[in-house]
């Protein structure tokens, strides 16, 4: 299990391959990657603030819960903070299991928890100004599934 919180950019393909290389006997690997979108047009940067210390322990707890609830060989969580450009990778999760359903469900669980339980806050800076991204009700209610 690996949890990383970093400002540095990373290569999701290289991370996927490195993750896959060490999952002995697990035939199903699911990955999710989140990319900075320029929804309204004119996005200059996305600034991601986080809570150093709590972020790492929250991600660790979420990943440990996934490992306990599903039959997983391994789980990976990487999340960036700092100043990001449109098109850059924000974060990724990957899960490996002998069974595809476990790999899918646990990856979706990790994402749902990351969205509203990990202490990150996004601010979109565009030519029109700067706005904190509002949490969505649907992200909160997505947790009811688990």
């Amino acid at each position: 299990m690996q949890v990383r919180v970093q400002s540095d950019i990373f290569d999701p393909g290289a991370e996927l391959n490195a993750f896959t290389a060490v999952i002995d006997g697990a035939g199903a690997v699911v990955s999710f990657s989140g990319i900075v979108r320029d929804v309204a047009g004119g996005l200059q940067t996305m600034e991601i603030e986080h809570y150093p210390g709590m972020t790492e322990s929250a991600l660790q707890a979420i990943a440990e819960e996934a490992m306990q609830r599903w039959n997983l060989a391994d789980a990976l969580v990487i999340h960036r903070y700092g100043r990001l450009q449109a098109g850059e990778i924000i974060m990724m999760v990957a899960t490996a299991s002998p069974h595809r359903k476990d790999a899918f469900d646990s990856a979706e669980f990790l994402m749902d928890y990351l969205k509203s339980r990990a202490p990150f806050w996004k601010k979109e800076v565009s030519s029109a100004g700067a706005d904190w991204v509002a949490a969505k009700d649907e992200d909160e209610s997505a947790l009811d599934r688990w």
């Binding site: 989140g34 990351l114 806050w121």
Partner: protein, 81 residues
């Protein structure tokens, strides 16, 4: 006790962190004390439903006890992922 602010809470209050002398027994009591300090606190804490709180880096609610707490953080709902 260290009190931390993140995202727009930090921006409204104007500082990311401060040390507060308090005998508040719960988060709610601490919030009441902070609101009485200055307008910027009153504004930041005017709608608690739009805020979240962590005590010693664990997410909790505003009824939570502060007994033995060293660090309290206030922030808007999280938007990770």
């Amino acid at each position: 006790m260290d009190v931390l602010y993140f995202a727009w809470v930090r921006e409204r209050i104007g500082i990311p962190k401060e040390t507060v002398e308090t005998s508040a027994a719960t988060v709610n009591e601490l919030v009441a004390e902070l609101r009485q300090r200055e307008e910027r606190y009153e504004v930041a804490f005017s709608d608690l439903s739009s805020l979240r709180v962590a005590v010693d880096q664990t997410l909790t609610d505003f009824d939570a006890s502060l007994s033995g707490a060293r660090e309290v953080a206030f922030f808007p709902p999280m938007t990770g992922g």
